[in-house]
Structure formats: C-alpha cells, structure tokens
C-alpha cells in the first residue's frame, strides 16, 4: 500500500439528527502510519465520525472512504479495522476469554491462540471465570482493546480508550499504541479528552468543533506553533530583524505580518532584546512571552475557555 494513501478519508461528510447537524461537511484524511488525534469538546462530532467509520451510523451527506473504498465496498474493508467506540460492550454472562472466543468464531479468525495472545497483551489473561458484568471500567477498556486488536488490524479506531485506566494502564496503553504503530505500521484514529495523553502519542491532529474540522495539523507543525517565544511588536519589523541578527547574533525568529516578530531566543533574558532594539531607535510597542500546550492551543482555536 502506498504510504501516502488515505486509510480513511471524509469528503464533505454530514450527519443530521433532525435539525441538529452532528457533522457539518467534514473533510479529513488519515494517512497510513498516522496516529491521528481527534480533539474536540463533548458533542463536537468525534464519536459520530467514528461511528460512521465503523458502520454503526450512515451519513446523511458527503462521502466516507476506508482504504480507498466507499459505499457498499467499504463494509468489506472494515474487516481490516479494529474499533473501540464509547464504552466497550460485551455479553455480561461470559468471561473475557469466552467473549473473545465468541467474536473470534464469528469473524472466522483462525487459531484460538490469538485470544490468549491479546488477553496477555492487555493483561487480562488471569481473569479466570470472572464474568464481564463484574469487570471494572478499566478492565472493560482493556477487553475492548483486546477485541480491537484480535484481527491484527491495519487501522485502529479508538474513542476515549483510556477512560477508566489507572496511570500504569495508561502508560501501558500508550506503549501498546506506539509499538503497533512502529512495528506493524498500524494506523490509529484516536480521540481523548485527556489532551496531554493524546499529545504523547499523536503524529497528526484534527480539531473539531460543532461538527466541523477547524484545523488539521501535523504534530511537528503543532509543536512549532506551540513553541515558547517572545512576541515583539515594533514600529519597523525589517530593522528589528536586522538588529536581532547583528546585535544579538540570532536568527531564531520569525517576522509576522503587522510588524510583529516571534523570537525563540533570549527567553531567559528578554531585556537583552528590548535593550538592543531601543538602543538602535526601534520602538518596542509591546512584548510578551508566548507558548502553549495542546490544551491551550485548542482552547485558543475554538476561542473559548471551556475544556475539551
């Protein structure tokens, strides 16, 4: 498969529930090898998008593709995916092993050792005869992940997968995702409210709000945008740029429209910059230290103070 091929792509995807637009013209591409983080508030449309990708819900407009297939052909491609949407659900009267064996038989996955392998991977191998109905939320999440991994998927769709996991579980989960992505080139679409956790694994992000994708950005580009810097507003950006090079000997800055410079140097001693500019007759109109993490970036993007 071509590395640049979109494992999942949406073109003007829409979903309406009555008058409410849960998805309003979503365009996105999850490319092979991505760990694609979906960021958005409750009701932004993340789960709706994932439910469509997994066939639980049909779009009311636009097009969705999986591995290049759309429409009825897309269903067959779903056997290459693993999914965990919302809270994992299993038959309450069966054990972890029995539940997985049931789905293994149903999906025609050969060899029952695969059940032991995935149970081992998510550390549920020694659950014995404990029924699913007695599982904690964390154990349910682990079993959901085990089911999603059982068919060795090329594409994993995970909706809030670390809800209910203890810190150790979160770390193990992160490790599993990285390992799958690195060793099996598994593409992963993941949503989480815990943005710090998402920022630990994602290689690409989409920010969603009110059923729309506000921005799609790579982790590197986001990192650059979130870098701590000094924001200098001056009366003459060209001269200020030249002064930063000659007086401070740095080229770690960007010139932005509106006579604004972003300086990624002198962060521990901002006075050096202001002194160099003032000494050479460049008026410093404003100076502030700027920097953001994923959460701050998202909040800035949606223009609100509410949490994701």
């Amino acid at each position: 498969m071509n590395d640049n091929m979109a494992v999942m792509a949406a073109y003007g995807l829409k979903k309406a529930y009555g008058a409410c637009m849960a998805l309003d013209g979503v365009n996105m591409q999850v490319r092979r090898g991505d760990i694609y983080g979906l960021v958005g508030r409750n009701g932004a449309g993340k789960t709706t998008l994932m439910r469509m990708a997994t066939g639980q819900s049909d779009p009311t407009g636009g097009e969705l593709e999986l591995f290049g297939a759309s429409g009825k052909n897309m269903r067959l491609q779903r056997s290459r995916t693993g999914a965990m949407i919302e809270i994992p659900s299993f038959s309450p009267f069966l054990t972890a092993r029995e539940n997985l064996e049931y789905y293994r038989l149903q999906r025609g996955i050969p060899g029952n050792q695969v059940v032991d392998e995935v149970l081992e991977l998510v550390e549920l191998a020694d659950m014995g005869k404990k029924k699913f109905k007695s599982f904690s939320l964390g154990m349910k999440q682990r079993l959901g992940l085990a089911l999603a991994l059982m068919n060795h998927p090329d594409f994993l769709i995970l909706d809030e997968p670390i809800n209910g996991l203890d810190p150790e579980g979160v770390a193990e989960f992160r490790q599993i995702l990285r390992q799958l992505n690195r060793e099996r080139q598994t593409t992963i679409l993941i949503s989480s409210h815990i943005l710090s956790e998402l920022s630990n694994v994602a290689t690409r992000y989409a920010f969603m709000e009110q059923g729309r994708i506000l921005e799609e950005i790579s982790a590197e580009a986001l990192h650059d945008k979130c870098r701590t810097c000094l924001r200098l507003e001056v009366d003459d950006a060209a001269r200020a740029a030249a002064l930063l090079q000659t007086e401070l000997g740095t080229d770690k800055f960007e010139v932005l429209p509106g006579n604004v410079l972003q300086l990624y140097d002198c962060l521990d001693d901002p006075k050096r910059a202001s002194y160099a500019l003032a000494k050479n007759g460049v008026a410093l109109l404003a100076m502030e230290q700027k920097g953001a993490d994923l959460e701050a970036y998202f909040l800035d993007l949606i223009g609100g103070g509410r949490h994701a």
Binding site: R51, T54, G55, Q56, S57, D58, R75, L76, Q77, R78, S79, T81, A83, I85, E86, I87, S89, F90, S91, P92, F93, L94, E98, E101, Y102, Y103, L105, Q106, R107, G108, L147, N151, I157
Partner: protein
C-alpha cells in the same frame, strides 16, 4: 454465515439461561406425565398412545417457547450494546439478522427434539402400552408425527416473527409484547372484526385470520393426517418466515447501532 452460527451456538451453550429454561420445560413435562401416572394408579388408565396424543392440544406452547429461544439467542444485544462489535468488523446487517434467526430456529428445533424425546421416553417408562379402547402406541406416534411435521413450519414462522420483533424494538419486554400481539392477539382482533363486519370484507378478514400461524396450528388438530393441510401449513409457515424476515431486515438495515 456458518462462522456466525457457530459463534451463536458457542454463546448459547455457555448461557445458564439455555439450560434453566429447558430444565423448567422438562420439569413441567415430567409433572404432566406424573399426573397421568397418578391417575393410572387410581383406576383411570391412560395408556402411552393416548397420553402422547395430548401433544396435539398443546401446540400453542411452541409459540411461547419461541419467546424463550429468541431471547436466549438475541441476548439483549441492544441493552448490552454488543451489536456494534459485529457491525464495526464489517459483518453485513443481513448476515447478522439471518445468523441470529437461523440460530434461534436451530435452538427451537433442539428444544423441540429434546422435549419430545423426553416426553415420549417418560411416557414409555411411566405409562402402560396396552391400549384398550384408546389409541395404540403406533397410532399415537403416527398422529404426533403428523402434528409435529405440520406444526414445525408454523413454529419456525413464529420464531421469525419473534426475531423481527427483537431486531425492530429495543428492549426484550417491548419486543415480547409485540410478538404476543402479533401471534396471539392480532389474529383474534382480525377474526372478530371480520365476524362483526360481515359481507365480503368480513369473509376476507376471517380468511386472513385463519392464516395466522396459531390458527393454522389449531386447525391442524381437526384434520390430523390430511397431507393437503400439511402442505398449506408449510406454505403459511414459509410465508411468515419470508414476510417477517423481509420486514425485520429492512428495519434493521435502517437502524442506528448504539
């Protein structure tokens, strides 16, 4: 499809419900046979042949068993939200629907075979074979065989209705009520409406009511051995399977899985 049915069998064999329900039904049968045996010990003799023919009077129980077998196989999939695991792997809605229906029908047949074998075996052990003025063993078995052969498609038709209700209505209680409404109440309502309406419309309604599975089975009691009626029973059963499967599948295809 075979994989799907195999998985359903795996699941139902691990459900205590499967065995408890069958155990209760067998216990009721044992109680029924013990009543014959008790009467026999007080001079009223009911031989094997006469006892087993009583099955003909209890055909309606088969439609009640459809409720149980449907519920056992469907296993509250809407309440437990487990259908999403099947859909998200790319199994088609048709495969899921038909797989569940076939598993339900299979379980119904297994229940029927076990219950009949248990009942006939218990009767053979507990009741005398000498017929006197009653049916001989061979006559009784012939009547029962004909009745079971005529009833089977009608019970499977009932199972198809139960499957449709389970897929179309969220909640086992609501789907059971719908099933009872269709199989037990609707025919009566249509039949009575026909009788009150009279004329050609009334006749049409009475005729329509006669083709409901339970009415067909009730009618079978009166015409034991009539192969034309058995043919009609198979046609009516096939119609109910086809119609309810078509409606259920259409509704399920449109349904959002949550």
């Amino acid at each position: 499809m075979l994989n799907y049915i195999r998985a359903e069998i795996y699941k139902m064999l691990r459900r205590p419900y499967t065995y408890i329900a069958l155990g209760v039904l067998l216990a009721l049968e044992a109680l029924f046979v013990s009543m014959f045996a008790f009467h026999n010990s007080h001079s009223l003799v009911t031989p094997f042949g006469a006892a087993i023919v009583s099955i003909v009077e209890m055909g309606t129980i088969g439609f009640c068993i459809c409720l149980l077998t449907g519920d056992i196989v469907f296993a509250a999939q809407y309440k437990n939200s487990t259908l999403k695991n099947e859909v998200s792997f790319g199994l088609s809605r048709a495969q899921i629907y038909l797989g569940k229906f076939l598993a339900q029908a299979l379980l119904s047949i297994v229940y029927l075979v076990v219950m009949m074998a248990f009942f006939l075996g218990l009767c053979a052990v507990c009741l005398p074979m000498e017929a006197g003025n009653f049916y001989t063993a061979s006559e009784g078995l012939t009547i029962v065989s004909w009745f079971l052969a005529a009833g089977l498609p009608l019970w499977i038709g009932g199972q198809a209705v139960m499957c449709m209700c389970l897929f179309l209505v969220n909640g086992e209680m609501a789907s059971s009520f719908l099933y009872v409404g269709i199989v037990f109440v609707l025919e009566t309502v249509i039949g009575l409406t026909g009788l009150f309406a009279g004329g050609s419309v009334g006749d049409a309604l009475v005729t329509l009511a006669a083709y409901f599975p339970r009415n067909m089975l009730e009618g079978a009691k009166e015409v034991v051995g009539n192969m034309t009626y058995m043919g009609q029973a198979w046609l009516v059963g096939a119609f109910w399977v086809a119609a309810s499967t078509a409606i259920g599948l259409y509704g399920f295809r449109k349904k959002e899985i949550k």
